[in-house]
């Protein structure tokens, strides 16, 4: 499945996702919704910067490898997931169903790599959205 097909499927499955970009680790955009070159380039750059900044925090905090990131603001949420070859950034309205969005994003990455049906995406479910610099170890799904 190519990037455009994976993104079209993702948009069809998840009504919560408003915009999304799939890029490779070098920053080359494979697909973007809305299909607009400059927006795709910008979101691809931001996906890389968000992942790198989150990874710096992970290293500073001495944690395990990063699997996924959600940035939540009053204007909406930004999700970033990554696999060996691709990075996927998606935006939603405020207060999305976090677990479902992550599941759909990971499924899209699996489909993109032609791994549909071979294994379930590894998704960590969020128990509750409240917290202030708190840590949870509520297990993986």
């Amino acid at each position: 499945m190519d990037g455009h097909e994976a993104l079209a499927d993702l948009k069809q499955i998840s009504v919560q996702i408003e915009a999304a970009v799939i890029a490779d680790h070098g920053g080359a955009v494979l697909a973007c919704s809305p299909d607009d070159g400059p927006t795709g380039e910008l979101l691809s750059r931001l996906a890389r910067e968000i992942w790198e900044a989150a990874d710096i925090s992970r290293r500073d905090l001495g944690r395990d490898a990063l699997t996924q990131v959600e940035l939540s603001t009053a204007q909406g949420s930004v999700f970033v997931v990554r696999d060996d070859r691709h990075v996927l950034l998606a935006t939603t309205a405020p207060d999305p169903t976090v677990g479902l969005v992550f599941y759909d994003l990971k499924s899209a990455l699996h489909a993109l790599d032609g791994r549909t049906g071979t294994e379930e995406p590894n998704v960590v479910w969020q128990a509750d959205g409240s917290a202030s610099a708190e840590e949870r170890g509520d297990g993986a799904a």
Binding site: E18, A19, P34, T39, L42, L43, L46, E49, I50, A53, A54, I56, S57, R58, D60, L61, R63, D64, A65, L66, T67, Q68, V69, E70, L71, S72, T73, A74, Q75, G76, S77, V78, L89, T91, A93, P94, D95, V98, F102, V124, Q126, G129, S130, A131, S132, A133, E134, E135, R136, G137, D138, G139, A140
Partner: protein, 72 residues
């Protein structure tokens, strides 16, 4: 007279209760909408960083830029 007073006290209790309930709902909604960065790790744990934490303050402007670029 006593009946009227009871009615007034009842109405006031209801009004105060409504205001307190609305304030609580508003406070919870505001807390839920507070900016934060949630990082998920391979061991299954998650770290939630609120606005003001240095790690969150590195990430949240990037989120704002992405949301602005997509019309939010």
């Amino acid at each position: 007279m006593a009946r009227r007073r009871r009615r007034v006290v009842g109405a006031m209790t209801l009004a105060v209760g409504s205001v307190a309930g609305s304030a609580l709902i508003f406070k919870r909604k505001r807390e839920r909408n507070a900016s934060r960065a949630d990082l998920y790790f391979e061991d299954g744990s998650m770290l939630s960083l609120s606005q003001g934490a240095p790690e969150a303050d590195r990430l949240l402007p990037l989120a704002a830029e992405a949301l602005a670029a997509t019309g939010r």
